[in-house]
């Protein structure tokens, strides 16, 4: 067993900390992961159902305001406008709190693999807010659908993610109607293929697998009952569901348009051999190398296939594989992970982060992430963020990282550590001589800390 505590913390976790001991073995990492989620209990983020009714309330408010506007009731418009603004501000703060809490979890947790897996699967099942009124609900979606299932069966994770209201809204499934269903209203409403396509291309078998337009269309017809009700909750609407059997990847699903048939199809696709290969490759790329050792990918795919997609078993195989412990740090931390590990190495007190005023939060966290290329919860599309090192270490990405490293740590921790100590805090026993020298040669503490945070040794994992 090639376990190495520094690699375990850096490559499979959120980085070294001067306060928090890293995992002592792969078994300990897996035990924490499959045990109770203590980090979430200490740093709670509301789940989607706790907040979604507010999204409905916002829509109701806006509708009422528009109605009042159309009727020319100026006083009522002003009152409702104030309510809309107050609700919008409240929602924005909910979203900001979830963002900051996510960073804090990574910065303080001992259950390091869980934070990484949550981010990985949230990215795999990317959702974006389709309108401002639900922008604060993306993290609550992750909290409800993704986080509790990262060490369970892939089929359960798949079902929770693709039937979640946020996914149904993002990929237009909630608006899709079976062409010959009752809700189609004689062709006035109809099919939308977006979720069905991404489900095959991104979430399960992958774009390289053998499937065609017919599979996409029949899967889209099969999914037509999946709905979001006016309160923002999931529901299966038989009036929208396309009647008749649908054939997807060679398997035909029932005559009746029911949720059971949708689930049966999802369960089959979740354990399809192409899904095992796609997920195995993606995990290896995310954790180990942009071009991973094929033997590692094959081992992960084999465990996935043998266990019917038991993710904890797949991670155990990864942590037992020699290729996962290669000393070369082939991966680059994406910006959110970079910030998280910097906050952890700097031991920034969580209450400093939770106490940031909006403007300070934008200056110290949100805008820097955008310049580094990772606008929070806003990737370009449903394929999420890039993995390859060169996508992040660009001139402007590098400029964003150096700018942050030079200016922000002293705002968040005015009592900056001595850079000569910080080298050890951040890099442990792997600090290169050049970084040790630069930390000591810098003119100020802030510059010395920045040299450590600007080093490839800190930014790779």
């Amino acid at each position: 067993m090639p376990f190495d505590p520094t690699i375990a913390t850096v490559r499979f976790g959120t980085g070294l900390s001067p306060l928090i001991a890293g995992p002592v073995s792969a078994e300990a990492m897996l035990a924490a992961l499959t045990g109770p989620d203590l980090t979430a209990a200490e740093w709670p983020i509301p789940t989607y159902p706790a907040l979604a009714p507010d999204a409905g309330a916002m829509r109701t408010l806006i509708r009422a305001r528009n109605q009042a506007r159309a009727e020319g009731q100026a006083a009522r418009v002003a009152a409702l406008e104030a309510d809309v603004k107050a609700t919008r501000n409240a929602n924005r703060e909910i979203g900001a709190a979830a963002f900051v809490t996510t960073l804090i979890r990574g910065a303080v947790t001992t259950d390091v693999l869980r934070e990484r897996l949550t981010a990985f699967w949230a990215d795999h099942f990317t959702v974006k807010a389709t309108q401002g009124a639900i922008r604060h609900l993306v993290t609550p979606y992750v909290e409800e659908a993704i986080r509790p299932r990262v060490a369970g069966r892939f089929a359960d994770l798949l079902r929770a993610a693709v039937t979640h209201p946020m996914m149904l809204l993002y990929l237009n499934q909630s608006a899709s109607v079976g062409p010959t269903s009752r809700a189609a209203n004689g062709g006035r409403r109809g099919l939308n293929e977006n979720l069905a396509r991404e489900l095959l291309e991104l979430h399960t078998i992958g774009v390289g697998a053998a499937y065609g337009q017919d599979d996409v269309r029949e899967l889209a017809e099969l999914l037509t009952g999946l709905s979001v009700d006016s309160a923002g909750a999931f529901g299966f609407d038989p009036r929208k569901a396309e009647p008749g059997a649908e054939t997807v990847l060679g398997v035909t699903y029932g005559e009746a348009a029911t949720l059971e048939n949708v689930v049966a199809a999802l369960d089959d696709i979740a354990v399809h051999p192409a899904t095992a290969q796609h997920i195995a490759h993606k995990l290896a790329v995310h954790f180990v190398a942009d071009t991973p050792d094929p033997a590692l990918v094959d081992a992960l795919a084999a465990t996935f296939a043998e266990t019917g997609g038991d993710l904890a078993a797949v991670y155990a195989t990864m942590l037992a594989h020699p290729a996962a412990w290669a000393p070369e740090r082939a991966k680059v931390k994406p910006p959110v992970a970079y910030l998280t590990s910097a906050l952890r190495a700097l031991a920034v007190p969580p209450q400093v982060l939770t106490g940031l005023a909006r403007r300070d939060r934008i200056v110290t966290l949100e805008r820097p992430l955008r310049i580094m290329g990772q606008d929070w919860e806003n990737p370009l599309g449903p394929n999420g963020w890039p993995e390859d090192a060169a996508a992040w270490i660009t001139p402007q990405g590098m400029a964003g990282r150096i700018d942050w490293a030079l200016s922000v740590p002293e705002i968040l921790r005015p009592d900056l550590p001595d850079p000569r100590d910080f080298v050890r805090d951040a890099l442990g026993d792997t600090a290169p001589e050049a970084v040790i020298f630069a930390a000591g040669a810098a003119q100020t503490r802030a510059e010395g800390v920045a040299m450590v945070l600007s080093s490839p040794a800190f930014q790779r994992r």
């Binding site: 062409p179 939308n192 396509r197 390859d388 060169a390 150096i402 050049a434 810098a442 040299m451 450590v452």
Partner: protein, 400 residues
């Protein structure tokens, strides 16, 4: 082929080569051409049938019962414009905006945004041919000893179209990087043994120095302040910032700039979504024109998207992924005021796969003729090096 591996291969080639030329003070040598090319990628698949509407096609209105209900200006008696493109009418009248219709990349049938964009930016027929780079980068590769600043990739994302072995510059106008000489030395020291990091920082510092040394940004701001069209444009949007930054670079030694505008994936309520994105695009083009000032006369802009959208409106007042669509081109160096097309028709039997506008010309041919016209590059070179395997066909006459 795996998208990520594909991107990595191209980018890894690019960064090692890209880093070194900028380290020498002679990097900003005179460019190989005087004309300028701007390529804007419209990510998400623009609905060409709504942007440039074939009003004269008897089947169009029936396919689009709710879309297109808000009329826009007529262009040719057959084609009309989406109302959100109306601010481009003065340019159309002046011959500085034109369109090509029923065009597409060679990508067919799977209709994936990501594969579609990769194929558009790679400029190849398919993703399984061992490709490594983007077509604008391959154009740069045909010019030996070219300076990195000749071509700029702009914005916070990686642009495959400019990725490859030829050195190019990349920047986001939001970054600052004001460092003392001593801090620079220390960063060089800590990053020295890692070519990826060292190269990125060196490029970043070279760009910052170039911006600080040039008065192009000030000149752009002044030119934009004087342009009456700019009064209508909100200055905060990322697309406007990118266009202003591109204009500033293009007034200097830069000859090629590329960036993308997103938001075209209008599956639902297209009336609102498409108007918003088309407004972003018109703002971008008008910002380029204003910012370029006299250089606008030497500039060609092409706006390309990964594929078109379904001929029929879908069940949610939007459109789904399709095949052929429209290309928008602009600039003082182009021959506008025309809709270039071999129109396939919209009757059921004329549609591709019974659902999409049929492609009648490879969109790469138009891009190729644009480069031929602006830069004088031989068609043989374009067909072999820039778009391998493409037959450019007859000159569609995009450039004056």
């Amino acid at each position: 082929m795996d998208r990520r591996r594909f991107l990595l291969t191209g980018a890894a080639l690019g960064c090692s080569a890209a880093a070194s030329p900028l380290l020498t003070p002679v990097a900003f040598a005179s460019a190989p051409w005087d004309n300028r090319l701007v390529v804007i990628i419209l990510r998400g698949a623009m609905d060409g049938l709504d942007a440039v509407r074939p009003l004269g096609d008897a089947n169009w209105a029936g396919l689009r019962p709710t879309l297109g209900s808000e009329p826009g200006p007529d262009l040719t008696g057959f084609f009309g414009l989406h109302p959100a493109l109306a601010p481009l009418l003065p340019l159309w009248t002046a011959g500085e905006v034109g369109f090509a219709h029923a065009v597409s990349t060679p990508y067919r049938d799977k209709r994936s945004h990501f594969d579609g964009q990769d194929i558009l930016e790679a400029g190849v027929a398919g993703l399984d041919g061992g490709l490594r780079d983007g077509w604008l980068n391959r154009l740069m590769q045909t010019v030996p000893g070219i300076a990195a600043e000749t071509a700029y990739a702009l914005g916070r994302e990686q642009l495959l179209i400019l990725t490859g072995a030829a050195p190019v510059a990349a920047w986001s106008p939001e970054a600052r990087l004001r460092l003392s000489a001593q801090t620079r030395d220390l960063i060089e020291l800590v990053q020295h043994d890692d070519a990826l990091f060292r190269g990125a920082s060196a490029e970043a510092l070279a760009i910052v120095d170039a911006i600080a040394d040039s008065d192009a940004a000030d000149a752009t701001a002044a030119a934009m302040a004087e342009d009456p069209m700019m009064a209508e444009i909100p200055q905060g949007g990322e697309h406007v910032k990118l266009a202003a930054f591109a204009a500033a670079r293009l007034r200097g030694d830069t000859r090629i700039a590329s960036f993308s505008i997103g938001g075209w994936d209008t599956h639902q309520n297209q009336v609102n979504g498409l108007a918003r994105s088309l407004t972003d695009l018109t703002d971008t083009i008008l910002t380029l024109k204003a910012g370029l000032g006299p250089v606008w006369g030497k500039t060609g802009v092409i706006c390309m998207t990964e594929f078109g959208r379904t001929a029929r409106e879908n069940g949610t007042r939007g459109t789904d992924h399709g095949t052929a669509g429209a290309l928008i081109y602009a600039g003082g160096a182009v021959h506008g005021r025309q809709v270039i097309t071999d129109w396939p028709g919209l009757a059921e039997a004329d549609l591709y796969a019974g659902r999409d506008l049929l492609p009648t010309r490879d969109v790469r041919a138009h891009a190729g003729w644009m480069m031929r016209g602006l830069f004088g590059i031989e068609t043989g070179l374009i067909e072999s090096a820039v778009f391998p395997g493409l037959q450019m066909g007859a000159d569609p006459g995009l450039v004056l």
